[in-house]
């Protein structure tokens, strides 16, 4: 009987959060679904009419559609690769006994506190600008022609900026996991004569797998929605080289004021995001269960 009570109580305690989130999910989703079947341009509000699947067809046939999906994948995977590999490397580095460990840690996590538009502005103007950026100064100092980052490597430049923002997050989680690694285990491995590389592969990496999963999962959710950095730096160009799905929706919904088309794009994005989520859960989700 006590357990029954506890269960009911548990449900009751969970209810507010679940209900709030349910409303928060259902209301916008329903409204977006409804608008996605309407011809509705914000600038010509008198011409609202039922559109059938036309908005979906319109969004799907956008010349940038397939490239934007590809760009989204490249962006997410690129950032994940850099942050996970970089995060492990940095976590291993600052886990060593070093002088000024506290300050080093503070410096490393700082980018996480910078709001995305500011991060993009700093990188665009002060670091990557082909005329006045630090990298251009460096190139000239070394006798090279400065690289015009956003014209020549637009997507890569954005990956760098976003990876810089998320590297601290990955590092922190991996560092915490690393510190929980049993030092006795480490020593035992050392005694057995395992070299540093083998110790990393057979001991450290399996131990980190759960933390890596968390990093991938959380970051993917945020990375799928990246657009502020693109807006500030390349505006999706040149051509469609740095247009991702979210930016394409932005272009349709905010520059074209096409509420119907933008809504259809939003629904398509949600469906695709859920595919990614299912795939992710299949691929790495098992790591989350203990």
């Amino acid at each position: 009987m006590a357990t029954q009570n506890t269960k009911t109580l548990a449900r009751l305690m969970m209810a507010p959060a679940v209900i709030v989130l349910l409303v928060w999910m259902v209301v916008p989703l329903a409204m977006t679904l409804w608008y996605s079947f309407q011809n509705y341009n914000l600038l010509t509000p008198q011409n609202v009419s039922f559109a059938g699947f036309f908005n979906y067809i319109y969004f799907y046939t956008d010349p940038a559609f397939f490239q934007s999906i590809w760009n989204t994948l490249v962006l997410v995977l690129g950032v994940l690769l850099i942050t996970v590999v970089g995060g492990i490397a940095i976590a291993l580095l600052i886990d060593q006994p070093i002088f000024g460990q506290g300050i080093v840690r503070i410096l490393v996590i700082s980018p996480f506190f910078v709001m995305p538009p500011v991060a993009a502005l700093i990188w665009k103007n002060m670091i990557m600008h082909p005329g006045y950026g630090v990298l251009a100064d460096l190139a000239r100092f070394l006798g090279f022609q400065p690289i015009d980052w956003f014209a020549q490597f637009p997507l890569f430049s954005i990956i760098i900026i976003v990876a810089w923002q998320w590297l601290p997050f990955a590092t922190l989680i991996l560092l915490t996991a690393l510190q929980s690694l049993d030092s006795e285990q480490k020593e035992a491995a050392e005694m057995d004569g395992a070299n540093a590389f083998n110790r990393f592969i057979y001991l450290t990496l399996p131990h980190l797998s759960r933390a890596i999963t968390v990093v991938i999962l959380i970051q993917t959710i945020f990375l799928l929605g990246i657009y502020a950095e693109i807006l500030v730096t390349t505006n999706g160009g040149p051509g469609y080289a740095s247009t991702n799905l979210t930016f394409l929706i932005y272009r349709t919904a905010r520059l074209g004021y096409d509420v119907g088309g933008g809504a259809a794009g939003g629904i398509i994005a949600v469906v695709l995001a859920n595919f990614v989520a299912i795939f992710l859960m299949r691929a790495v989700g098992r790591n989350l269960d203990r």
């Binding site: 341009n41 020549q152 505006n235 040149p238 051509g239």
Partner: protein, 437 residues
């Protein structure tokens, strides 16, 4: 929550009581120099009108446009005065989103407004927005570099001459580019220049039946000219340069010529920011040999009142003050004549003091007089607008096409490919919007 709302309401009521029933105007504005200056001078207005308080929402141009358009289209009613371009004014006025400005007062002297500007802000003879400053486009060039190269800039040069001169002046070793032009993608960035350029080449965005014209020879010619010129005589990284970047390049003496908005003239001749202030000359926007067209670039930033505002009377008072001759005098007395907002009133260009203080006054007026947005190009068109097309769909379309052209300047796409893609995307967008049946 209700209690909280109540408390907040009570707090703000108390705060408002402090101002003795003052009306508060919420004004959305763009963050450029002239507007910031106006904010600084607003105390003069509130001193004269103690019953009106002013709250500013200052935003970067693109964010401002998004915010204001959403608010006005979805009747959010958050603003009493909005700062909008002459692109929006006719579109919004037709939607009845703006109140006509019929209460600006006797002293306002509405007939003093430059006819080209006023025309762009009126629908059916009614003024829907008051111009704060206006601009056309012209050539700014370095007299010293021209002299060194043995060239003389004619008052009304041709593109052929500009191309030749730019290549001659270019000195890669000294880091001097013959010409700096916009390359950054955006309907208000590279497309403003490219549209004006194509106008002067005799091209047009759409024919009388709204069919896109990117497959026509004029576009190929103008885009090819632009791409070649930027390759031979443009700065490195030209595809990411917009107005701001080119302004800085020119001020640092790295450009032989710069063709852009006339409002830049006061920035490049201000010795505080510009290293070449005393060496700048001005000339009319170029035309093509045999085509009588100077691009027809015309832009103004204007103050307008959304139809949803509950404080229209106070708002008109403010607009009348901010766009009046008296405001011009106020700026002149505090910051000097060279800093007054240009390009809105005839009287300013008849003012000897202004002409003396601003060497760019006469060329600016000449450029503005040469611009006619009702007839942007020599062929007939179904739209108005010079460096833009005054239809709601232009923002998205212009930006997409701008990206395609920006890729040409970045060397990632050929002129032909970009034009084919532009034609396809324009046809698609225009069909969707119902222009093409």
């Amino acid at each position: 929550m209700n209690l909280k709302t109540f408390l907040l309401g009570a707090c703000s009521a108390v705060a408002l009581c402090g101002f003795a029933n003052a009306e508060t105007l919420t004004i959305a504005t763009v963050n450029n120099g002239d507007m910031i200056r106006m904010q600084g001078l607003t105390s003069e207005f509130t001193k004269a009108n103690p019953d009106i308080q002013v709250e500013w929402v200052t935003l970067e141009e693109n964010v401002l446009r998004e915010r204001v358009t959403t608010d006005i289209a979805a009747s959010g009613g958050q603003y009493d005065i909005v700062t909008i371009g002459n692109y929006e004014v006719p579109i919004w006025a037709k939607q009845q989103w703006l109140l006509p400005l019929d209460g600006l007062g006797e002293a306002y002297d509405i007939d003093d407004l430059l006819p080209a500007i006023r025309g762009g802000l009126s629908v059916d003879g009614k003024l829907y927005a008051a111009p704060f400053y206006g601009e056309s486009a012209m050539i700014m060039y370095r007299k010293d570099l021209f002299e060194k190269a043995g060239l003389t800039m004619p008052d009304s040069p041709t593109w052929e001459f500009i191309g030749e001169a730019a290549r001659k002046i270019t000195d890669r070793n000294a880091d001097i580019s013959g010409i700096c032009l916009r390359g950054k993608a955006g309907w208000g960035e590279n497309m403003a220049f490219v549209s004006a350029l194509t106008n002067s080449f005799g091209g047009r965005w759409f024919d009388e039946n709204w069919a896109p014209q990117f497959d026509q020879p004029e576009w190929k010619e103008s885009l090819q000219f632009y791409a070649d010129l930027m390759k031979d005589a443009g700065p490195s990284g030209a595809s990411s340069n917009g107005f701001n970047e080119n302004l800085t390049l020119f001020q640092q003496g790295k450009c032989g010529m710069w063709i852009d908005a006339t409002v830049a003239a006061s920035f490049v001749s201000n010795p505080k920011d510009s290293t070449v202030a005393d060496k700048v000359g001005f000339a009319l926007f170029p035309s093509k040999e045999g085509v009588a067209n100077h691009g027809n670039w015309l832009w103004s930033w204007n103050l307008a009142i959304p139809a949803s505002s509950q404080k229209a009377e106070a708002a008109q008072k403010f607009i009348a003050w901010a766009t009046s001759k008296e405001y011009t005098d106020l700026v002149a007395s505090k910051e000097g004549w060279a800093n007054v907002p240009p390009g809105t009133r005839t009287s300013l260009y008849n003012n000897e003091e202004y002409k003396k203080a601003a060497a760019f006054a006469v060329p600016t007026l000449a450029a503005m007089d040469a611009a006619d947005i009702t007839k942007p190009t020599i062929k007939p068109v179904p739209y108005t607008g010079g460096q833009f097309v005054a239809i709601p769909e232009f923002q998205a379309l212009g930006t997409t096409v701008g990206q395609l052209f920006s890729a040409v300047i970045a060397g990632q796409s050929s002129v032909d490919d970009a034009l084919t893609a532009a034609q396809a995307t324009a046809t698609r967008d225009m069909t969707r919007a119902g222009y093409i049946k």
